[in-house]
Each structure stands twice: as C-alpha cells, then as structure tokens.
C-alpha cells in the first residue's frame, strides 16, 4: 500500500510538470500571436479558444501536487483547538468527501466526453475535437479522487503516513 501511495505522489508531481508545460505553451502561443500581429499584421487564430480549452486541464494537472504540499486553502481557527484525535477524524472525513466528489465529477465529465465523441464535437475556431480534452480532464479528476482516497486511508491510519521532510519543503 505504501508503494502505491508513493507512486500516486510521484505521479502527481509529474502531472504538475505537465500543467506547467501547458501553461508555458499558452503563454508562448499568446506572445507569438501578438508578435505575429505586430510584425505581419496577422494574429494566430484561436488564441482565446486555445487558452480557454486548456485552462481546465492546467488547473486539474495541479490539484494533486497542491494537495501533496498541503496548499489547498482552509480555515483552521476552530480546527486548531480540537484534540489530535478529532482532527484526525475530520481530516479523514474531508479526504473521503473530496474523493467522492471528484469521483462523481470524473464520471460525469467522462459521460460528457462520450457524448462529444459521438457527436464529433469540435471547438468553433480551431476545430479541435472536444472529446480528448474532456477525457483527459475526467482522468485527472479520477486520479485526484483516488489520491484523496489514499490520503483518507493515510489519515485514518490504514496506510502509513508519508510525513517526510519533503512535505515540509
């Protein structure tokens, strides 16, 4: 189980790298479009559409890594006053709730992907097929859901916790 947990963490970091590559790609696409418009008078087609289409993926690429580093935002004013036992219980609940939520999102977005695939739906400017983006997004949601279940198991004490120095880094 611990091996599996380590694997999910490494995979989460890899996804964050993909997110950054996508972000830099969009940045460069916009920069090149603006430059092209300035130099040749012709912007690249579909800058706005490309950015919009990639944005959900960029966000989803980052979710696991943000969770690994405990950077998903929360208020701890009352939480901090609870005993470690209560906190453990709450944290376990939160992780499983998140797991269920993202499982539902993954399932529904996958259905939407199938619908788009069957309709051969495309974006309106660049005619990018919509289905692959939805499937990737659905996969990322599934991955995040699984990660949160592992987290839940870790917090419940069923899986040994990965409280190593890298977490504090």
């Amino acid at each position: 189980m611990e091996k599996f947990r380590d694997l999910t963490e490494s995979f989460g970091r890899l996804l964050a790298v993909l997110g950054t590559i996508s972000l830099l790609f969009i940045m460069m696409y916009i920069v090149c479009s603006v430059s092209s418009r300035f130099i040749t008078g012709r912007p690249f087609l579909g800058t706005f559409e490309l950015g919009a289409t990639f944005l959900p993926l960029i966000a989803a690429f980052y979710y696991v890594n943000t969770e690994i580093h405990d950077r998903h935002i929360r208020a701890t004013i009352i939480y901090d006053r609870f005993s470690p036992r209560v906190r453990q219980l709450l944290d376990t609940m939160y992780a499983f709730t998140a797991g269920i939520i993202f499982l539902v999102v993954s399932w529904r977005v996958c259905l939407f992907g199938i619908r788009n695939f069957e309709m051969k739906a495309e974006t309106s400017v660049l005619a990018l097929p919509s289905a692959p983006f939805l499937f990737v997004y659905s996969f990322l949601m599934l991955n995040f859901a699984l990660f949160m279940f592992v987290r839940g198991g870790e917090r419940a004490g069923w899986i040994a916790s990965a409280d190593t120095e890298e977490k504090k880094a």
């Binding site: 964050a16 997110g19 950054t20 972000l23 969009i26 940045m27 460069m28 916009i30 920069v31 479009s33 603006v34 300035f38 800058t47 706005f48 559409e49 950015g51 919009a52 289409t53 944005l55 959900p56 960029i58 966000a59 690429f61 980052y62 979710y63 890594n65 943000t66 969770e67 580093h69 950077r71 998903h72 935002i73 929360r74 208020a75 701890t76 004013i77 009352i78 939480y79 901090d80 906190r87 709450l90 939160y94 709730t97 998140a98 939520i101 539902v104 999102v105 529904r108 977005v109 259905l111 939407f112 983006f133 939805l134 997004y137 949601m141």
Partner: protein
Amino acid sequence: MDPFVIGSIVISSLLLLILLGMPIGIALFFTGFIGYWAATDLITSLNYVTIKGYGILNSFSFMCIPLFVLMGLVAAEAGFVSLAFDTAKKWLSRVPGGIAQATTLASAFYGSVSGSSAAMAASMGVIAYPEMRKLNYHPGFSASCIGIGGTIGILIPPSVPMIFYGIIMDTSISKLFIAGLIPGIILTVLLLITIWIIVLVRPDVVPQHTEVSYTFMEMIISLKNMIPILVLFGIVVGGIYGGFFTPSEAAALGAFSAFMMGFIVRKLNRENIVKILKEAGLISGMLFMVIWAAHILSDFCIVSGLGQQFGDLIMGLGLPNWGILVAITVVFLILGMLMEVNALFMITLPIFGPIITDLGFDLIWFGVFGTILAEACLITPPVGLNVYVLGGVATDTTIENIFKWILLFIPAILILLTLVVIFPSIAIWLPSTM
C-alpha cells in the same frame, strides 16, 4: 422548497464546514451541489456537473490569473521587487505604514492593466507580501492591504465585472469603464486614509521608526533600483495603451517579459526557475480549485431563485426610491457574502436592473454602484475570493486573520458608495463627455 430556506441551510452548513477546517474548495462544492440538488433534483444536478465540471474553467478570462502570478513570481525571484521595496523603504522611512500605502497605491496602478481582481491580488501577493513581512509588517494587516488593493482593479478600467454588467444590462462597456475611473481614484485615497487610521490606532502592526536615516543623496541614488520594476510595468502598460496587445493578452506578455528581463540581468538560473514554476503551480492549483467551486455555489444561488425572491420582497415593502436603493445594497451585500462577482451580477441585475430603470436611475451610474458593492463581495466572509487568494499566497497567516483585518476597509467602500449616491456626477460626468 422555499429559496430562503434552502439558502439559509446552505449558508449555515457552509459556514460550519469552513469553520471545522474543511478545505474551502471541497466545502463550496459540497454545499453548492447539495443546494443545487435541493433546488432542482438529483438528475438535473448531476447533469449540471456533467457540463460545468469542465465548463466553469473553460474560459479565457481566467488565463490571466496563473500568468500574472508567474509574472509576479519572476519579478520577485529576479530581485526586481526587493530593489523597488528598498527604494520605497528609504523614501518612506519616516512615514509609519508608508510601505503599506505604497503597496495599495501600486495596486491601483496595477489595476489599470488587469480587469480581474483575483489575478491582481494573487500577483501583488507574491510580489509584495514577502517584502512587507521582511520589513516586519503584521501578517494579517499586510495581506489585507494587498487584498483590498486588488479590489480597486475592478473599478479602474479595464474591469471584467463591468464587461459582464455591460453585456447583461445592454449598456456601453466603454462608458462603464470610463465611469469607474474617478470612483477608483477616490477609493484609492479612501483606502490610503484607512491605512493611516489603522496605523494610528495600532502602531504595532507596522515596523517602528528606525534610527537609520537616509540622506537626500542616498534617496536619489536609490531611485535607480526602481528601474527594473518600472520597465516591466512599462512594458505591460505601454503595450496595452500603445496598442500592441489587449488587456486579455497582457498577462502572457507580462510573464514573458519578466522572464526575458530576468535572463538579461542574469538573475534567473535553473534553480530559481524551478522554484518559480513550482510555486506558480501550487498557487494555481489552490486558486482554481476555489474559483471552480465558488462558481458551483454561485450557480446554486442562481438556480434557486434567491434573486427573484429578494426582488419580490423589496418591491413588496413599498419603499421610497432611496429605501429601495438601501434595500438593494443590503441584498447585494448578503448575496455577495456567498457568491463570486460575475455570478452576483447575473443573479441580481436581471431582477434589479428593471427596477432601477423604472425608478429613473442612470444605468451607467448603477453599473458603478454595483461594481463598488461587488468589491465588498470580494472580501466578505464566508466566500471572499480575494481573501482566499491572499490566504493561499501568504502562508504564514490564516484566512480568519486576513478576514479580520480586511473588514476594516469596508467603511471606505461604504463611504465611496454614499458619495456616489449623493454626487452621481462622480460616476457619470466622465462618460457624459464622451
């Protein structure tokens, strides 16, 4: 079920879950989804997730958020920000809280390039927060100065909420933009005054006077340290106003230019580039989760018919004109506690727009009025996007603490609101000259 009943249940469960330490994104989604379910049915709410699970973030207007964050991080890591703060420190060493005021002022200028409050708050957060902390400014106070500075951005053109308003109310977007300028400047002044008062009452939140005093010559020489940040800012502002790119494209150009400048002055290496990219990813993951989930809660508010309910309630009271205006303000503030800005406009404007028109108010004026109220919505708990943003960026303080400090700026917003009601020409004089 009655919208008020569902609404009250949803808001109290949200508050409870947030206070119990549930991650805010999860709490927003959970309560928003359950609310949507209660307002419609299970199948409809699942189909809602089918479309909006991906669809909410499928919008170019969010793209500026990670890119402005990236720009801020590069500027900070390349040392441009420390240099600028060093100059500010020398010039403002005798002014208690001077750096806080300078940061708010910088936010106002920054507002002229970005129309998104969250993007500005996040970007200014990574730029200014660490420097303010280095100078021993109080964490919550520092974060709140940056967070409130971010709200000026939606009043000073360009402004995403005003574009929304223009489309919903079929009102000239360009006139709205111009109309926001003077109120934006007045707000900036009011915020500076607020900071001054806070510092008078609580001198402990700012660093004490240093014994070191700087000569005039030192101050003049230090101005050269402002050059990098001014060049970067000049590229972005000059690019927009010189007609090289649009405000929507500015964030990409800003981030790219920051990288280029960092390379030119040889302040970027493998190590700190990795650090920048990693931090940009962490902040983006945090922000998008909350933004995504905040929209889900907002969509619940829309579908539940809360807006209509409030509209009927107000019209049923038989109030005079000013009474209706006060009532609308109260409703905006109540709904604004729960919703992000664009959704707030979507739910309130279709109901209040016609009422306002019937009462003979100017729609451009009401656009400014609504945008000022929207600023309050960005900082009021439990759903205060700017506070969440700062909470994510400022890792050594808590969102409760930021909420506590930032609410001190609410009077400034209410004063501006009152001024705009008493002297409508603050808002409508400039557009009338167009």
